[in-house]
């Protein structure tokens, strides 16, 4: 293999979130329409590396992906040791909007996966006019409470990273290449203690938007929903049920041979689905 350097650049941004100072790591690549990408629960922005290295995307989009606080190379806030991390809908929305404002992004596109897909639904309900378009991957407005006890994810007598990875490993489609499957799961193995569990507080407890989904107006901001065939956390049926609650409905694309982590588990398969969406968004300019 010839040695080469990727076009992705990473930097640290200092900003206040929830009234507390944070040091946030983000990466970006490309030029054009700002496209903010949100990683899944318990992971980090490395999930987006394939998209950020794809000239078909970066030729027209400035792709940005931050590590949420507590994740990846972003620090938890000072005092973290004496609190339990719990992501909420409003703290997550504030994070995305503050990040965009700090970098001066003008009406960015936001694409989120899993919890990132869930917050996309929330943004569509409350802040649609701030965005050029919203893309929800593995997105729904609701997750039935607990088919497994979240306590398994953070306890001293289980290896948290390996347990988190083993819990989500089946969310990857059987067709996904081993190389990408195990890199995706490596990210889970590297998560901080209790972080995946804290993200799932939003996914399971503070993320039931069914009562507000009818407020989404796709004319105010185009909304795209794409879900992997093999995702049994947010199934295609869950996404279709969400879309049916939106006045006028929204088309749902079921992505074949993909699971809960389309952008990282099988980048080649994912680009077949996401490039036409990005093409359409770019054409709306």
């Amino acid at each position: 293999m010839t040695a080469h350097i990727e076009p992705i650049v990473g930097r640290y941004l200092h900003l206040d979130l929830g009234g507390r100072p944070h040091r946030l790591y983000f990466e970006e690549a490309g030029q054009g329409i700002p496209l903010v990408c949100l990683h899944t629960a318990g992971a980090d922005n490395r999930q987006w590396r394939h998209l950020m290295n794809d000239p078909a995307v970066t030729s027209r989009f400035r792709v940005l992906a931050f590590d949420m606080p507590w994740h990846g190379k972003s620090s938890p806030p000072a005092g973290w040791r004496d609190e339990e991390y719990r992501l909420t809908a409003e703290s997550y929305a504030e994070m995305i909007r503050t990040f965009g404002a700090a970098l001066g992004l003008e009406r960015p596109v936001v694409m989120g996966c899993s919890i990132g897909g869930r917050i996309v639904v929330y943004l569509a309900i409350r802040y649609a006019r701030e965005f050029r378009a919203l893309i929800g991957l593995e997105a729904a407005d609701f997750q039935p409470h607990g088919w497994y006890d979240l306590e398994w994810l953070h306890r001293p007598d289980l290896h948290g990273g390996e347990t988190c990875a083993a819990v989500v490993s089946g969310l990857i489609a059987p067709q996904s290449p081993d190389e990408h499957r195990w890199e995706t799961l490596w990210h889970y193995m590297q998560g901080g203690p209790g972080v995946f569990k804290g993200d799932l507080y939003f996914y399971r407890i503070d993320g039931d938007f069914r009562g507000d989904t009818h407020r989404i107006d796709p004319k105010a901001c185009p909304l795209y929903l794409l879900t992997g065939e093999y995702d049994f956390s947010c199934s295609p049926e869950d996404t279709r049920a969400t879309a049916a609650r939106i006045p006028g409905g929204v088309d749902v694309t079921e992505m074949k041979a993909l699971g809960h982590f389309p952008m990282s588990e099988n980048p080649e398969q994912f680009r077949r689905y996401i490039l036409p969406v990005l093409e359409e968004i770019a054409g709306r300019r």
């Binding site: 489609a173 059987p174 049994f232």
Partner: protein, 146 residues
Amino acid sequence: MNDELPCGKVGEERDVHDAEGAILSLPELVNADDGLVRRARHMSLTFLVRVGEARFYVTIAHGRVAAVERGTQIIRDARFSLSAAPEAWLDHWRPVPKAGDHDLLALVKGGRAAVEGDVMAFMRDLQNVKDMMAKPRAMFLEEARQ
């Protein structure tokens, strides 16, 4: 993986004997996988696999399958049990399983399999147990190709 195989028994052509035979083949299937045995090296216990009404006691010693015994005794100890109908196990082992059949926890969430007993012991080696119980997939794929 390819869903369209040229020959061999696949999916619905298989029956309960194939499912039971697959469980009995776990020693050779698991023990031939050095990586799995290494990852599971701290696992030493017996778990019960139910294939419909049939019971199989799978004993793991330092990551290797030391024995699989068909259960005839009703009162016998096992740390945890994995239960599913033969059809569910066979669907799990299809060369390209359908969504919902493709993962042990997907089967559990979908109500086609159950985990009971010492769930802590199951969770401690969750990926290893998943990998062990998925092993017959490769065996059936190989048979289908022959």
